[in-house]
């Protein structure tokens, strides 16, 4: 009975994480399209939500298990996963509040690593995995996307430099609809899988599913729905940061950034070297801006974003460890997760209740300079 209750709590928490993952990462997909007026804000988030939903069904590979190769899988319990999820959700909400695009995957990894460390000590954490699968890719993703977008926009400007800005902008805005759609689809295939993986693992650990099983249909549908709803909710603060606060983009830069982002994500996924969507898109936006003019990039904003990236794993880890500690105060049964869930819901209600009653309007399109 206790284990069933913990399972239900883990499933609900995983879906809540999936929702925050959706609205936190909406910006990755739609920010450039909105800021260059390629697509109206509400249409952009609705389209991204639909494509994220569809993307979740395209690939059912659950190899992307939670922190696989980073923590000792044998030591991970449902309570550790629960604490890790709370750490990831908390960090996603904190960075959303400050309008900072940070990696939801890193938040989840950080949360699980922190909870596992609190539960089992350093032996639970695989240092080599953390360096090879998390830290190095976190350096590679923004630098590679920065270079691809920068080189792409430099060559594009050479090709289109003497053309009438009106037709050029119209053309690239049409192109952005396609590149943005590809990004949204790839986001759905990557990120919804994490939640499916978590829930499937929890079901296997609980004995509700045979080892090595594919996720049941209800898991696929609920994960796809949660990420799509989150995407539709739209993290406007982060959209504003990524779309207008780093650089003021023209449609050619928007296309180069989205194209670079989509190709880097797809290439990394294809060759089995997973890179963060957020790091990739943020790097591409900075690259598209810096290639036009170094001073076009607001480096202060870029610095804040990089600082958030650096703190993501330690901060989510610290919250995950704290949550695990609080949970264990109430023993090893379901009482700890139940008490923590009630506390978290109360805290969220107190902080966000007033804010969600005053539904924020989508940001107005920002005037865009011509190439």
């Amino acid at each position: 009975m206790d284990s069933d209750l913990v399972l239900v709590i883990v499933v609900v928490t995983a879906l809540a994480f999936d929702f925050t993952n959706g609205f936190h990462d909406t910006a990755n997909v739609v920010a450039t399209g909105i800021s260059t007026r390629a697509i109206p804000p509400r249409t952009a988030v609705a389209g991204a939500a639909i494509l994220n939903f569809v993307g979740a069904f395209i690939s059912l590979e659950v190899a992307a298990t939670v922190a696989s190769g980073i923590v000792e899988a044998d030591l991970v319990t449902p309570t550790i996963v629960f604490a890790g999820l709370i750490g990831a959700i908390a960090w996603n909400l904190i960075t959303w509040w400050y309008g900072l695009p940070s990696s939801s995957s890193h938040a989840l990894i950080g949360g699980v690593v922190g909870a596992a460390f609190a539960a089992e000590g350093a032996a639970a954490v695989i240092g080599e995995g953390l360096v090879g699968d998390v830290f190095i890719p976190a350096l590679i993703a923004p630098l590679l996307a920065f270079s691809v977008a920068g080189l792409g926009i430099l060559l594009a400007y050479r090709i289109i430099g003497r053309l009438r800005p009106g037709s050029v902008n119209r053309g690239f805005r049409h192109g952005q609809l396609v590149s943005g759609s590809l990004l949204a689809l790839s986001h759905g295939t990557n990120d919804a899988q994490k939640t499916m993986g978590i829930i499937t693992l929890a079901l296997i650990a609980n004995g509700s599913l045979a080892n090595g099983s594919d996720p049941p249909l209800w898991v696929v549908v609920s994960a796809a729905t949660a990420i799509a709803l989150g995407t539709y909710a739209g993290g406007w603060r982060i959209i504003r940061t990524l779309g207008t606060r780093i650089i003021k983009m023209d449609p050619a830069q928007g296309f180069a950034a989205q194209g670079a982002g989509a190709t880097v994500i797809l290439a990394s996924s294809h060759f089995g070297y997973p890179l963060s969507t957020t790091h990739t898109i943020s790097g591409a936006v900075m690259g598209a801006g810096a290639a036009k003019r170094l001073s076009a990039v607001r480096w202060g904003v870029a610095g804040n974003i990089v600082t958030a990236w650096i703190f993501t794993i330690p901060a989510a880890g610290a919250i995950g460890a704290l949550v695990y500690g609080v949970t264990r105060v109430f023993g090893t049964g379901a009482l700890g997760p139940v008490v923590v869930s009630i506390l978290v819901l109360g805290l969220l209600g107190a902080i966000f209740g007033r804010r969600f009653r005053e539904v924020p309007a989508p940001p107005p399109p920002v005037p865009v300079g011509e190439p």
Binding site: I159, G259, T263, S269
Partner: protein, 79 residues
Amino acid sequence: MIATVVDWAALRDVVVASLAAGVGVTVAFSLAILGLTRFADMRRDGKAVEAWAYAGLAIVGLAVSATAVVYGIVLMTSK
């Protein structure tokens, strides 16, 4: 330590493929826009040969861009 934990072969493949595809798509689409814009200009000026040359450039640029998008979707579905 870093030398042993990083999958250098996969990393090299990602860098090469990203640079080729990412830059290639932006260049191809820019050429398509160049072709379409110049095609309209040349046609208006009565320069049929140049107009059709630019139309060809636009078609090739759009074809390359569309192929990249389709290949991207194929990669996603074959994971």
